[in-house]
Symmetry: C2
Subunit: 150 residues, 2 copies
Amino acid sequence: MRIRSLSTLECTNVLNANRLGCLGCAKDGHPYVVPFYFAHHDNHLYAFSMVGKKIGWMRLNPQVSVLVEEHVQGREWKSVIVDGRYEELSDRIGQKRERDHAWLLLSRHFDWWEPGALRTVMPPLSDHSDHVFFRIWIEQLSGREIKEDE
Amino acid sequence: MRIRSLSTLECTNVLNANRLGCLGCAKDGHPYVVPFYFAHHDNHLYAFSMVGKKIGWMRLNPQVSVLVEEHVQGREWKSVIVDGRYEELSDRIGQKRERDHAWLLLSRHFDWWEPGALRTVMPPLSDHSDHVFFRIWIEQLSGREIKEDE
């Protein structure tokens, strides 16, 4: 097996090709890791969530870490780690286009992880519900590829 | 789709049946999430690692979070979150049996993630190398199952 670092472009390709990651946040020195679905666009990971522990923690401390793994074939893997910053998006500040795009990419995944309230056909209006639309600004990106020897 | 909480026994079964998880640690409010291989035994997750960023961080702050996901079939999933505490194990304090057991379960996975130094046939002696043998003490355990409607 050979291990090599991925370039920024290769890391970006992994983020574009995948929807499921592990999102880590931290409060008072305690980390908390949960699965989350995201859509990568323009140096951000967009996502929806019900209000809960992870949203509460990220509101208090916006520093997050995201791990995305891609199984290539056999024993070949790529993994990408994002250092990022949480930003909550309100419908009032004009992110309707990003929200609709993210909703289009993500809505079919919600019933895996989220309570029934997210299973609607329209993107929720963050200001009028307990749904949150947020993004992670990608501050730093690194990745590795593990390949079989040729 | 139906979502339900897993009992402690069901969470434990997920930990027994899987080897790969996402390990989150934190330093100065920054979370850091990485893939790691573990072996569950007696309320602990055992693992080996080269010394690096995650070990350095866990030495400073032993609070960790571990996410383990199990794909059952189709769109059915189980996910388990562990709140735990890092403990580094020295060969001098008599964990040879646990180390050998964990090595047996884990050694075939190392070449996916770790540099070549870990690809040996014998468990490394923590005191004489840059390998670390550690465990996560499971303080709290929660899980969810997502099932198709019948």
